[in-house]
């Protein structure tokens, strides 16, 4: 844990010798060290090559394409900033960014809350086989195809013929417009998404909880700390690195949501569940405006980078490492 009372600037002793004795930095590594470095480079090479080919090049390609008009059929033509001007004045694009942010906030919050609650519950006293059963059950939706799940959910949540409205109808509740009202549709998309995704955060939290030494909880118990107090003062601070990872991954995934709203609502009613990635798909593959689609993609990339940077910046205050 970080000691906030220590005001010593630990960087000074490290930097000064480097500046004062430049030759120290030029000390040649031993043959063994060079061999290790070479081996490390060889092992890393496939991953680096993969990232360059499948991530870096497409990103650069998207940025370049966002400066051209291209409809696949005819040769690309220079557009300059026209695609960006076009998407900034396109109400559908702006609404899709708003929807995506709303989706992200509610979906990630719900996902983390449910995953954390269940992880804490399962971390208590429970037969091993039952704990394994629950873990498998919670993780299971994650390995299923999002599109397949969404097709099934579309049947279940159908207002007129769906099983869910039939079930609640048994209790005298009127049919709920799950997918046919603006707020209902967004809520339903979030429900389906969270149901499928919380298993990932859940597994992270289970791992994080297992890494917290029992001695700390035992010491706190000896000092008279209650269950809630132990969670707030010990579990959560020590779990904060896991929380950071879960929230970063959760937010990045949520900002790229596509299958669930695409299959469940096709972005409707109106534009109420249209997300940024849906707009990218529609502009590119339905409207043949690959330049504009790339411009929206670049904006989404910038948004994800910005949100992630803010998260890491804020994490300095809230994340505690042992």
């Amino acid at each position: 844990m970080t000691d906030t009372t220590d005001t010593t600037d630990t960087r000074v002793p490290v930097l000064r010798p480097r500046a004062a004795t430049p030759r120290a930095a030029a000390v040649r590594p031993s043959a063994r060290e060079r061999g290790t470095r070479l081996l490390a480079a060889l092992f890393l090479a496939p991953t680096v090559v993969g990232i360059v080919i499948f991530t870096v090049v497409p990103i650069i390609g998207s940025v370049v394409l966002s400066l051209f008009h291209w409809n696949v059929i005819d040769p690309p033509g220079w557009a300059g900033a026209a695609n960006y001007r076009s998407v900034f004045t396109d109400s559908t694009v702006l609404v899709s960014f708003r929807n995506t942010l709303v989706f992200m906030v509610f979906a990630v919050a719900a996902q983390l809350l449910i995953a954390l609650s269940l992880a804490l519950t399962l971390n208590g006293r429970m037969p091993g086989w039952l704990r394994s059963l629950f873990r498998s059950a919670f993780f299971f939706p994650l390995v299923l195809s999002a599109a397949s799940i969404s097709v099934v959910m579309k049947y279940l949540f159908n207002q007129d013929f769906g099983v869910i409205n039939w079930l609640i109808g048994l209790f005298g509740i009127a049919p709920v417009p799950w997918l046919t009202s603006e707020h209902g549709a967004m809520a339903t998309v979030i429900i389906v998404y969270v149901w499928q995704q919380f298993g990932f955060s859940f597994l992270l939290f289970v791992g994080g909880l297992n890494n917290i030494p029992k001695e700390i909880h035992e010491a706190a118990a000896l000092d008279g700390a209650t269950g809630l107090r132990k969670h707030l003062a010990i579990t959560l601070p020590l779990l904060s690195p896991t929380l950071l990872v879960a929230s970063v991954v959760g937010i990045i995934n949520a900002l790229q949501v596509f299958e669930q709203p695409y299959v469940l609502t096709d972005g409707g009613p109106g534009d109420s569940t249209r997300t940024v990635v849906m707009v990218i798909y529609e502009k590119a593959f339905e409207q043949l405006r690959f330049g504009e689609a790339s411009a929206v993609g670049v904006l989404l990339f910038v948004l994800i980078m910005a949100v992630t940077a803010v998260q890491f910046r804020l994490s300095r205050r809230f994340v505690h490492y042992q």
């Binding site: 030029a26 070479l38 409809n71 609502t265 972005g267 409707g268 109106g270 405006r289």
Partner: protein
């Protein structure tokens, strides 16, 4: 790396590593291995024909290929059955193939894509049609001119239609009997339609939906616009086309025909469009039909065949679908769309489009001609999964097993209502469709939301139509 002072020995060593790596990479690159070109049929000189995966049965495709091989043993054909959810999805995948440099020679294209393909990718068939006029006379005599006109663009013909589907009304006869209702008359009106829905609603429980419709370009709001004497976009005809009409159709049947449809100015805020939306909004408010987002074709056969839906718009394709779902031929029937200001119907047709990028255009034309033959279509459409474009194929024998009793409605929709026309499908059809679906959902959210939503639809349509695809 901080080791900037590299010794000669280290330099030689790293050089050796580099040479070794290059040798390994070279060996790997030259290793005999499988590539995309090893897929059977790829780049083997075959004529590649792309079809929507679910359009034809495997048996139908086998018959199609075998028959063509007998006729043209020198032309190799490969069917590329592209799996897609719907026509826009299919077009997207074809365009991806074109972008990847693996464009097919022929593409099965429906009305939704006729003008898009004609404008950017298609080859007009005019010169071949003129050359083989004698051979094609029998075909055109058997095919309604409306279908042919829907495949024309700016005076040229781009496809020979081989199938179509008009939006007629399917009725569940068991549901009608339960409510004590009769099959409506040919000339039933919109008010008769509303009264029938109320009668069906009254005779069934709360889980019953009298009218089920799907929010899409074909069979959604547009049939109601047609019935009310309007369209989403102002419709006109391109000049030209007389080369075809004069050669193949008698004077009475070629009257008023032109060089294909033009869809231009959006008219979403016109009074008649508002009326159509108001009418559907009233049906929803009264609980007589599904909301636009609620209805989707995926579960339609299930809910219709089990008596949870009374009436739905569909084409000849549904006869085969319901039969395969186990519905008896007398358990459902079909009638024309009800009359409002007019009884104009909408349809969508399909045929093969020849791509400019094809290097086998003469061979492709032979396939197009072959695909429109009577015996070919009879083999291909054996299960009534669509309405054949050839009138002579619609016989009592064809519908004896699958039904419905009033199967004549399918082709008579063209013959009895000569103004029946194609769905509005300009080259910007993808965006037009998206705008229509999106704002229809909003417009029908409540009785007061129709006008604001249609104003927004008009603005979006104007933007879409101004864009050059």
């Amino acid at each position: 790396m901080t080791d900037s002072l590299l010794s000669r020995r280290a330099l030689l060593r790293y050089g050796a590593y580099g040479a070794g790596a290059a040798a390994l990479a070279g060996t790997a690159a030259s290793w005999d291995r499988l590539t995309g070109n090893d897929i059977p049929g790829r780049d083997d000189g075959s004529l590649v024909v792309a079809t929507l995966g679910s359009a034809f049965s495997p048996d139908g495709i086998r018959t199609l290929l075998a028959g063509f091989r007998r006729l043209h043993p020198d032309i190799k054909v490969r069917i590329n059955a592209v799996q897609a959810v719907d026509w826009p999805d299919f077009f997207a995948k074809i365009l991806t193939q074109i972008a990847a440099g693996t464009a097919p020679d022929l593409v099965y294209v429906a009305t939704e894509g006729v003008q898009l393909f004609a404008r950017h990718l298609g080859v007009p068939l005019d010169r071949w049609v003129k050359r083989d006029a004698a051979e094609l006379t029998e075909y055109f005599a058997d095919v309604h001119p409306s279908l042919v006109e829907s495949m024309m663009y700016e005076g040229s013909l781009y496809q020979l239609p081989i199938e179509f589907n008009a939006a007629d009304m399917y009725l569940n006869t068991q549901v009608l009997q339960r409510a004590g209702a009769q099959l409506p008359a040919d000339d039933w009106t919109r008010d008769d339609f509303t009264a029938l829905l109320r009668q069906l609603k009254k005779a069934n429980d709360s889980h019953f939906t009298p009218y089920f419709w799907t929010n899409r370009l074909w069979g959604g709001v547009v049939p109601w616009l047609f019935a009310n004497g309007t369209d989403l976009l102002a419709e006109s005809k391109a000049p030209g086309g007389s080369w075809l009409w004069d050669a193949f159709y008698p004077a009475d049947r070629r009257q008023g025909r032109g060089g294909g449809f033009r869809w231009t100015t959006p008219r979403a805020t016109s009074g008649r469009v508002e009326e159509a939306y108001d009418y559907l909004a009233e049906l929803i408010q009264e609980g007589l039909c599904t909301r636009p987002e609620g209805g989707n074709g995926q579960n339609l056969i299930g809910v219709f065949s089990t008596g949870r839906v009374g009436v739905t718009p569909a084409g000849g394709f549904w006869a085969g679908g319901l039969h395969l779902a186990g519905m008896r031929a007398d358990a459902f029937d079909v009638q024309y769309f009800p009359r409002w200001r007019t009884q104009r119907h909408q349809f969508g047709a399909a045929g093969y489009a020849l791509l400019r990028t094809s290097k086998k255009q003469d061979a492709a034309w032979e396939f197009i001609k072959y695909s429109a033959r009577l015996d070919t279509l009879a083999a291909l459409f054996s299960t009534n999964q669509t309405t054949p474009a050839r009138r002579s194929m619609l016989t009592a024998a064809r519908y004896r097993e699958s039904g419905p009793a009033h199967w004549r409605v399918f082709y008579d929709t063209l013959d009895k209502f000569p103004d029946t026309g194609p769905i509005p499908a300009p080259p910007q059809v993808a965006e037009v469709t998206q705008v229509l679906l999106k704002h229809t959902g909003t417009a029908l959210a409540s009785p007061h939301s129709v006008r604001p939503a249609l104003r927004r639809m008009q603005g979006d349509l104007e933007q879409a139509m101004e864009r050059d695809v």
